[in-house]
Amino acid sequence: MLTLEGMRVEMEGFTLDAELSVPTGARVAVLGPSGAGKSTLLGAIAGFQPVAAGRVLWKGAAMPAAPAKRPVSMVFQDNNLFPHLSAFDNVAMGLSPSLRLSEAERVRVGGALQRVGLNGYGDRKPGRLSGGQVARVALARVLLRDRPLLLLDEPFGALGPALKAEMLSLVADLLDETGATLMMVSHEPQDARLIADHVVLVAEGRAHAPVSTGEIFANPPEALRDYLGQA
């Protein structure tokens, strides 16, 4: 279980408070207007955003400071791959940042590429991959890192609707296999309906506790109504 205990992020002219917990295995969509602090929330959980007060706990224990030591895989909006490394090496970074791999590890990297449907693309550099393929490489690395908490910061925002749905279903399959907990930032309520069982609403400087997806859309609170543009 992920717990944000009286967590407060302070930036210039902006604060974000969060007091919530996310059960293990939950799939949470983080919704809210732009600039409300959705990415900031994920950044704080991943260890990129310094926390002014409160704690970020995983299974009741405070998370270590270094992002790499946290039980977290994060996929960013962009710059998820190193452009100078092949798809294979980019995935292999998830196992060993120094890229010194045993034969068994090389087989695992190949397997992860195959799992996301990129068999035979290992030699390609990101410049020669499509947007969807780039996202798949990033997901293959997530699979290898095998961390219990997956944070997606709108990594599919630039993809068309069909491709995005495909990616979300791939993410759902991967979660089925690994049992990881998901927190996914999105602009679109549709994404939440597709993949999430819970929604965390971020609005007016506050990250609200998760509410089940069906319930929140059936009876949206005012902040969500404003955001969705419903009367």
Binding site: M74, F76, N79, P97, S98
Partner: protein, 512 residues
């Protein structure tokens, strides 16, 4: 990141020792020295006014050339603008030899004057120093000012055309305000460069009326072995450099190294006699730049096959010195850039730029003072040359590397942190591959600058040791001008080739 801190602090330490440390050594040695004689005062005066005049002339001539380049499009314009960047890596002594072939007593200008029944001219003396400085800095000034012109949005010229602006209106409304911003920076940069002029003064100046402080340091050192006097002069040199650099930091210095200068803006003004004026400006400037170098090529090529063994040997030494200097420069620049980016510290970067104010001869004097009691300084001629050259190229390397590294950390830092890519692995897997371009460029610059440098080596070299520029200077001193031209051609080619190889190495197969 303790390793970043350690290595960065170490590199900063080297820079501080080289600049301020040598200065302390010099000051300590200067204590017992007497005051300045009239010759020393003359050197100080000459240094200041020749730098001022060189800067003023270079900029004054550059304005019409830059304006012509800004408003004309013609075949070869791109090549000419690239060529304007070349003097930066052109060995000073090669240019001097080329200028001698044009403006010297036996040069083509004198030949023409004799043919017309007039007196031949001589380039030796203060005016030769000025001509050489303008030769080097007119292109730089042109690039700096051209950048200002190209920064005026194309739409303004379109608007001006639709309003029927005359060229004088365009000048008043757009160009004069732009020049007011760009010209002071260009003047200061060139003033600073000419302030530390040594090789030009060594080759063309000298005597009571054309000795710079740098040259006076050399003479006090080499001819009189008066370390106290050399040290005193070194303090004056540093004070002048630091003073100018301090003023320069307050004035916005335009950057002339960037690309994109071959862009041409569509213009509707400047017909009629302005065409003639622009053609003349561009033609004369191109002639002034190309002719001396062509003379080197013309005179050097026939002699290339019969180069003296001493020249070949010197060339070998120069290649070693130049490669070592490039390596040293990057080994200093990378840790400093890393520390500056990691700490977000302008102070760290600022310390790295200290060598702008320092002068090679001052550093040389300081190193000599330090080394002299311990061992034979002349045995260290080549390592000291490589080190001082590396320090001189450091500001350019930092200017290329620091923003590039900051960009890498902004874009890929979070991903690397997330994956635990740290220490050596981060250096090898992220920084090195993504810094290839700026590394190649600054390594090439450092190598080429060192290849052509005729500075501190003159203080330390014994008669048996010589780098190629020094050997070439010795040939000129012995009036073996054809051999000197061949050596010059070799030196010019080596400088260009070594820059090209480095720069190319950074570009080939580099991923966007």
């Amino acid at each position: 990141m303790t390793r970043t801190t350690t290595l960065g602090a170490l590199a900063l330490g080297v820079v501080v020792c080289l600049t301020l440390g040598t200065l302390v050594a010099v000051a300590w040695r200067a204590e017992g020295a007497g005051g300045f004689g009239p010759a020393d005062w003359a050197a100080i005066r000459f240094t200041l006014w020749q730098a001022a005049l060189s800067a003023a002339l270079s900029v004054a001539l550059a304005v019409p050339v830059a304006r012509a380049l800004a408003r004309r499009r013609f075949p070869g314009r791109g090549i000419l603008i690239t060529l304007l960047g070349a003097p930066f890596i052109l060995p000073v002594i090669v240019a001097v030899l080329g200028l001698l072939a044009v403006f010297g007593r036996a040069g083509i200008l004198s030949q023409a004057l004799i043919w017309a029944g007039l007196e031949p001219v001589s380039i030796y003396g203060w005016h030769g120093v000025i001509i050489a400085h303008v030769f080097f800095n007119l292109p730089l000034a042109t690039r700096l000012i051209l950048q200002g012109w190209l920064a005026i949005p194309a739409e303004r010229f379109r608007l001006a055309a639709s309003l029927g602006f005359a060229p004088s209106d365009i000048f008043r409304v757009f160009e004069r305000p732009m020049l007011r911003e760009v010209v002071p920076g260009a003047l200061l940069v060139i003033f600073l460069i000419c302030l530390t002029s040594f090789a030009v003064a060594l080759a063309l100046g000298g005597g009571p009326r054309a000795t710079t402080v740098e040259l006076a340091i050399y003479q006090a050192f080499r001819f009189d072995f008066d370390l106290g006097k050399a040290a005193l002069l070194a303090l004056v040199q540093f004070a002048m450099g630091a003073g100018a650099a301090l003023i320069a930091f307050r004035v916005a210095i335009p950057g002339g190294m960037g690309g994109g200068l071959d862009r041409a803006v569509t213009r509707w003004d400047g017909g009629g006699w302005l065409v003639v004026q622009d053609v003349l400006c561009i033609g004369l400037a191109a002639l002034f730049l190309v002719l001396p170098l062509s003379m080197i090529v013309a005179r050097g090529v026939p002699e290339l096959m019969s180069l003296p063994g001493s020249v070949i040997e010197a060339a070998g030494l120069s290649i070693v010195v130049s490669l070592s200097s490039a390596l040293l420069c990057l080994s200093l620049a990378l840790p400093i850039a890393a520390l500056a980016v990691r700490r977000g510290s302008a102070l760290v970067e600022g310390v790295g730029y200290l060598t702008i104010a320092a002068s090679p001869l001052v550093i040389g004097t300081g190193l000599f003072v330090v080394v002299f009691p311990i061992m034979d300084p002349f045995a260290l001629a080549l390592p000291v040359t490589a080190l001082v050259n590396a320090a001189m190229a450091l500001p350019f390397a930092l200017r290329a590397l620091t923003p590039a590294l900051a960009g890498i950390e902004t874009n890929f830092g979070p991903l690397a942190d997330q994956l635990g890519l740290a220490g050596w692995a981060r250096f090898r897997r992220l920084w090195l591959p993504r810094l290839r371009r700026p590394l190649g460029f600054s390594g090439g610059l450092a190598a080429a600058l060192s290849m052509g440098d005729l500075g501190v080596i003159t203080m330390f070299a014994d008669p048996q040791t010589a780098t190629l520029p020094l050997q070439m200077y010795r040939l000129m001193g012995a009036y073996r001008m054809d051999d000197a031209a061949a050596a010059g051609l070799l030196l010019l080619s080596l400088s260009l080739v070594i820059f090209w190889i480095f720069d190319r190495g950074g570009r080939v197969d580099a991923d966007a």
